[in-house]
């Protein structure tokens, strides 16, 4: 029916890693774990009676539950791109020169409504379809920040400040494009782990879609949980009152809110409301919070490390952070 679908991703990579836990081993492990947990339930529930631990568990579950529909949507879209959209489509839709493709992909980010969790698998799917990594990364960065849902949420959160909506859009898009260009110039292919994609050659499209979905969801979901654990812990630990003391220093405030955006890992559809509540900070500092948050946070770093490899994440996250803060400061100085 169709030729092997994984043309771009080196399908040969799959069999080189040896299989762990062959046969029924892990299923037995899962069954055993379920039995232990079910029998130990009263004891385990008793561990979570302290207010701090309960708050932690509530925030942890909230982060996971909130992200899940977007992750499922992202993985569905990614699977659909990988299986149903022919690679030739992207070759036609995007300019061949990566430097020209980056801004086009950045603007295309406005087409994916949702938050940042969904855009990581979609970007991975785009790369698997032969889209230049720099362009896919520009899409990855811009999509959660400039899509219509986020734009509307920002406008609702900042009534009377339409310039905030414009500033967020401009600064986010600019940061995404600049990071994409930098990556196109200095990025090296071997920094990026070839995505471990299931080999779907020889399968029908529906079957390939199903297998891709299972694989991508399990992988992204696992890393989402890592991010959720980190976000919940920081959420409960970061002494938010410390913030008040740095709010008065202009530069310190920008850095503090940018860092806070990384640590709290708030969904890009909600972060505008949090930024609005940080009334003691300047608009530019809050713009930094809104530009950095959807691009770099503990949950995203975990998802990116899981999808593209650690060697990628340790370079990409700091680069994005610096560019995003710079974009926020420049655009803030210009528009706010």
């Amino acid at each position: 029916m169709i030729p092997p679908t994984d043309t771009a991703a080196p399908a040969a990579a799959a069999p080189t890693t040896r299989r762990r836990g062959t046969g029924a081993g892990s299923t037995v492990g899962l069954a055993g774990l379920l039995i232990v947990i079910l029998l130990g339930q009263p004891y385990l529930a008793g561990l979570f009676t302290s207010a701090a631990l309960q708050t932690w568990s509530t925030v942890f579950v909230a982060v996971c539950v909130q992200a899940l529909p977007f992750l499922v949507l992202g993985v569905l879209v990614s699977g659909a791109i990988a299986v149903f959209v022919p690679p030739a489509f992207f070759a036609r839709a995007l300019p061949g020169n990566p430097l020209a493709a980056v801004p086009v992909a950045g603007v295309a980010g406005a087409l994916l409504p949702g938050c940042e969790c969904g855009s990581v698998p979609v970007a991975s799917g785009l790369m698997a379809r032969g889209v230049a990594p720099a362009a896919a990364l520009a899409f990855l960065l811009s999509a959660p920040a400039i899509n219509p849902v986020v734009v509307v949420a920002t406008a609702v959160a900042f009534p009377g400040h339409p310039e905030m909506v414009v500033a967020r859009f401009v600064a986010s898009l600019a940061a995404a494009v600049v990071v994409g260009w930098i990556w196109a110039r200095v990025g090296r292919a071997d920094w990026m782990a070839s995505p471990r994609r299931p080999d779907v050659s020889g399968m029908g499209r529906i079957e390939a879609f199903r297998v891709t979905f299972s694989h991508d969801f399990l992988q992204a979901g696992g890393f989402l949980v890592v991010g959720g654990l980190a976000a919940a812990t920081l959420n409960v630990l970061v002494p938010q009152r410390v913030l008040n003391s740095v709010a008065q220093h202009q530069w310190l405030a920008v850095g503090a809110l940018a860092l806070l955006a990384v640590l709290l890992a708030i969904c890009s559809e909600a972060d505008a409301f949090v930024a609005a509540s940080l009334g003691q900070f300047s608009l530019t500092a809050r713009l930094a919070f809104l530009v950095v948050g959807p691009m770099v946070d503990v949950k995203l770093i975990s998802l990116q490390a899981g999808t593209f490899g650690r060697r990628f994440a340790v370079r990409f996250a700091p680069l994005t952070f610096v560019v995003a803060v710079a974009a926020a400061v420049l655009v803030g100085g210009w528009l706010l």
Partner: protein, 256 residues
């Protein structure tokens, strides 16, 4: 992790999501607007997990796989492709972590955020779009039902101009004030419980005494602004209670 374990995990995650979205439990974590997306995502996961479990097990699927790939090459190529498909989820040890939220939901069922989170929340509140003097008169009613954040904003940003001489009815939970007394507290979320902000009103007068996290309905009048913890939590509106009644927790715990 083998294929079947992965499929079971996907079903467990989908099942947990449907479980909390099937009742009001999901409102402890996210907003009402996510109800349908949660049910849809849960359904997709359970369905795909179940179909995968069925198709990937010998005896069910072999004829169907072949039927969907009519032009698949026979011979070595086909065998090889098939063996790959059996090991597609290796190296996914991180997926085991998906059990954590599932267990948290089924075993611990974390409660809605309460007094602990409220006391930790930022001492900041949104600078309202309205200027002092912009606040319209309150609707008729004696007592007037009013949201905590509305009462707070009118007290702190408008000097209580529109509050004087009226009786109010407010719903919230109890957060002990260090040094005695308590605040009537309500938490609002923008998207999920990770972005919670809290509003609090100091209850004086016939306040009584209740343990933390007790839901109460207070009827009373405006009692000025309390500055005793200004540095920590800012100015706090005061409600002089006429009566306090313990009530069950509302289905939607966060301010809407």
């Amino acid at each position: 992790m083998n294929r079947d374990t992965g499929h079971i995990l996907i079903i467990l995650v989908g099942g947990a999501v449907i479980r909390i979205a099937g009742t009001d439990t999901y409102l402890r974590y996210v907003k009402h607007g996510l109800h349908v997306p949660l049910l849809a995502a849960g359904a997709v996961l359970v369905l795909l997990g179940a179909v995968s479990l069925w198709r990937d097990n010998p005896g069910n699927h072999r004829d169907r796989v072949d039927a969907t790939v009519p032009e698949a090459p026979d011979g070595p190529d086909h065998d090889q492709a098939h063996s790959h498909s059996h090991s597609h989820s290796h190296g996914l040890r991180v997926a085991w972590l998906l059990l954590l939220p599932v267990f948290a939901i089924f075993l611990i069922a974390p409660p809605a955020l309460g007094s602990y989170a409220a006391e930790r929340a930022t001492a900041t509140r949104a600078t309202p779009a309205a200027q002092p003097g912009d606040y319209p008169p309150l609707p008729a009613g004696d007592p007037v039902p009013i949201r905590l954040d509305e009462f707070e904003a009118r007290a702190v940003w408008d000097g209580g101009r529109t509050l004087s001489g009226r009786q109010f009815r407010m719903l919230g939970f109890v957060t002990a004030k260090p040094g005695g007394g308590y605040y009537l507290t309500r938490i609002a979320i923008a998207c999920c419980a990770a972005d919670a902000t809290s509003s609090r009103v100091l209850v004086t007068g016939a306040a009584g005494s209740y343990p933390n996290d007790t839901w109460v309905e207070v009827v009373g009048s405006y009692g000025g602004v309390d500055h005793s913890r200004e540095a920590e939590v800012g100015p706090i509106a005061e409600l002089r209670a006429g009566s306090v009644r313990q009530v069950p927790a509302p289905a939607e715990p966060y301010q809407t």
